[in-house]
């Protein structure tokens, strides 16, 4: 459309989420979940997507992953259009999604074999799998199956599997949402440690304001659906490595925190009643199930 105007920006953006609309067909006509979502992400940036539930955060992530197709607009990764899923955009799913019949090692192995089939020898693959599992501190339980390890450990293996694909972009859909507060804090520290080492480009969906401020370089706050879009973007210029205890008293940290809270609970306060909300959500879920 107006590509001539945007050329400059497109060429510089590592990942370009460009003018995305997402309309789910329903029996009563289209349901516009996303409207003109536009976001440019640099290499090595850690982005959090935050917003109320049902605002379409997951839809954005799934479109970037290639699991959904945007109705209009599109995704450019290194100036190439994304229209199907692929290992260069690895996903860490909310409920780990490990194959329950494989051990942690075998789960990572499945991904490594698929991605590095031609470039790595068997011994290199073994080292690479073990390296990634050790990176998430799962070296001790490599040969255990998902039902033998805790929820936090499963999520670690899920992260190891995603990291082992050496993705261009790491997509995380509420990776710690199902964990208890202590485990979650521990996982956040681990993730910061890994991020410090690998400097991946990450998009993470979260509900947790503290998590967003602690981990991100930028926080993308989404408005409520339908027709959800990017409301505000907040730059987080806190020095790294970050320490949650020191930050608790940090003025800048608390200012950022209250900005996000203000956005969520004043500007975008949920006004619709519960039944409407669940009805809308049900429609979306039904649609997505049908699509898949």
């Amino acid at each position: 459309m107006n590509s001539s105007i945007n050329t400059d920006i497109i060429e510089h953006a590592f990942l370009n989420i460009s003018q995305i609309d997402m309309v789910f067909p329903t029996p009563t006509g289209g349901f516009t979940a996303l409207k003109e979502v536009d976001l440019k992400i640099d290499k090595g940036e850690f982005i959090s997507l935050i917003g109320h539930s049902g605002c379409g955060k997951s839809t954005v992530l799934n479109i970037v992953a290639g699991l959904y197709q945007a109705t209009t607009g599109g995704i450019l990764l290194k100036n190439k259009e994304v229209n199907e899923p692929g290992p260069e955009r690895a996903v860490v799913f909310q409920n780990h999604s490990l194959l329950p019949w494989l051990t942690s090692y075998q789960n990572v192995e499945l991904a490594v074999k698929q991605v590095f089939n031609k470039t790595m020898s068997k011994a290199e693959m073994k080292d690479w799998i073990e390296y990634n599992l050790q990176l998430v501190h799962m070296g001790h339980a490599m040969h255990k199956r998902p039902d033998e390890i805790s929820g936090g450990m499963k999520q670690r293996v899920g992260i190891a599997r995603a990291l082992a694909m050496q993705p261009e972009v790491l997509l995380m859909d509420e990776p710690f949402g199902a964990l208890d507060a202590l485990t979650r804090a521990h996982m956040q520290d681990s993730l910061m440690e890994i991020q410090n080492e690998l400097n991946n480009t990450v998009i993470m969906i979260t509900h947790d304001v503290d998590e967003a401020v602690l981990l991100s370089d930028r926080i993308v706050m989404m408005t409520n659906g339908p027709e959800a879009t990017v409301g505000e973007i907040l730059d987080v210029n806190l020095e790294r490595p970050r320490n949650r205890l020191n930050l608790a008293k940090d003025l800048e940290y608390n200012r950022l925190r209250s900005e996000v809270l203000t956005f969520l609970y004043e500007k975008q306060r949920k006004v619709e009643n519960i039944s409407q909300k669940t009805a809308a959500k049900n429609i979306i879920e039904k649609q997505t199930v049908n699509e898949i």
């Binding site: 899923p85 999604s97 698929q114 898949i292």
Partner: protein, 332 residues
């Protein structure tokens, strides 16, 4: 003083012993005693009722008559084996004499053509049901996976599956018999027509539960796992091998167990009409024979059929336990 404490100690040990024995007795009574009581009540009712039913072949057999027939059937088996052995011994001797008289003589060994014993018939039945079931599985599991993967294929084939599923083996049998007679023409047949007819009928009836369960198992795989496969861009073969098959193994096995049960039930009817020398034929022959022992012998066959069916189900369960990753899905 000391003697009393010793006494108390003794008492408590005795009490403890009593308690543990009571626990063991309780456990035993649940596992052994109650089934035994149930069986005794059944046997009692059976023998009382049997005495009051008079058929044209005499009194309905009670437990005692059936037990007698079990030992008769076993004796007949032993006798028949001895006869067979004697038959072959005679042949060998005769041949030896003939060769001694005439060195150019090429000895012939003739098959023993005596009738199959009850035990032979059990073996035949087991062989027929297994081959029929395996043939059905070889068709049903790939078809079920295919139907589970593709909604369109499922919509296309599901009506056919639903219509053929409830069809009785007795309806299939005449058709199968005629088709086998028409197509299976050979001077030196590898297997008898009766066997083939029974086997195919068993397959036709045991196909459907496996198709249905496999396709449901495949189509209900967690969408997260399918997304993992999509993100990894697994090729179709790897996708089926690494995701679809392991994920649906529990459902596939549930279908296989159902099917094996159906197959065993169908087999008896099929063998009766197709005259395949198995347990079905045994029942039919005894019925036609109409001696005063016939009903007791049929009742013995009924018990054996039930027992084998039960063992086959346990066998499938054991295999399922071994193969399945999801131990919680394996219930008796």
């Amino acid at each position: 003083m000391s003697s009393t404490t010793v006494n108390i100690d003794k008492l408590t040990t005795i009490e403890r012993l009593m308690k543990t024995t009571m626990k063991i007795v309780n456990k035993l009574s649940d596992a052994m005693l109650l089934p035994l009581i149930g069986i005794s009540i059944f046997l009692f009712l059976w023998s009382v009722t049997a005495q009051n039913i008079h058929t044209s072949l005499g009194e309905f057999p009670g437990p005692k008559a059936v037990v007698e027939q079990f030992s008769n059937l076993y004796d007949e088996h032993i006798n028949e084996r001895e006869k067979a052995k004697a038959f072959f011994d005679r042949q060998v001797k005769r041949n030896a004499i003939k060769v001694a008289k005439n060195p150019d003589y090429v000895p012939k060994i003739r098959d023993y053509t005596g009738k199959e014993t009850f035990l032979d018939q059990i073996v035949t039945s087991l062989f027929t049901v297994t081959t029929g079931f395996l043939l059905a599985a070889a068709i049903a599991i790939p078809l079920g996976i295919w139907m589970g993967l593709s909604k369109r294929l499922n919509s296309a084939f599901n009506p056919i599956v639903q219509i053929f599923k409830p069809v009785s083996p007795l309806a299939w049998l005449p058709l199968v018999t005629m088709v086998v007679s028409a197509l299976y023409v050979s001077d030196d047949p590898l297997v008898s027509k009766a066997f083939l007819t029974s086997m195919i009928t068993v397959s036709l009836c045991s196909l459907w539960p496996m198709v249905i369960n496999t396709s449901i198992g495949v189509s209900s795989i967690d969408s997260d796992l399918l997304n993992v496969s999509k993100v990894l861009r697994l090729p179709t073969i790897t996708h089926i091998q690494k995701i679809v098959l392991p994920a649906s193994i529990p459902m596939i096995f549930t279908g296989m167990r159902l099917s094996f049960g159906v197959a065993w039930m169908v087999l008896i009817a099929a063998e009766m009409l197709a005259q395949n020398p198995g347990l079905g034929k045994f029942v039919w022959d005894e019925f036609q024979n109409g001696s005063s022992d016939s009903l007791a012998r049929i009742m013995a066959a009924v018990i054996v059929i039930g027992f084998i069916g039960f063992l086959l189900d346990r066998l499938m369960l054991a295999i399922q336990r071994k193969v399945s990753w999801d131990k919680s899905s394996v219930n008796a």
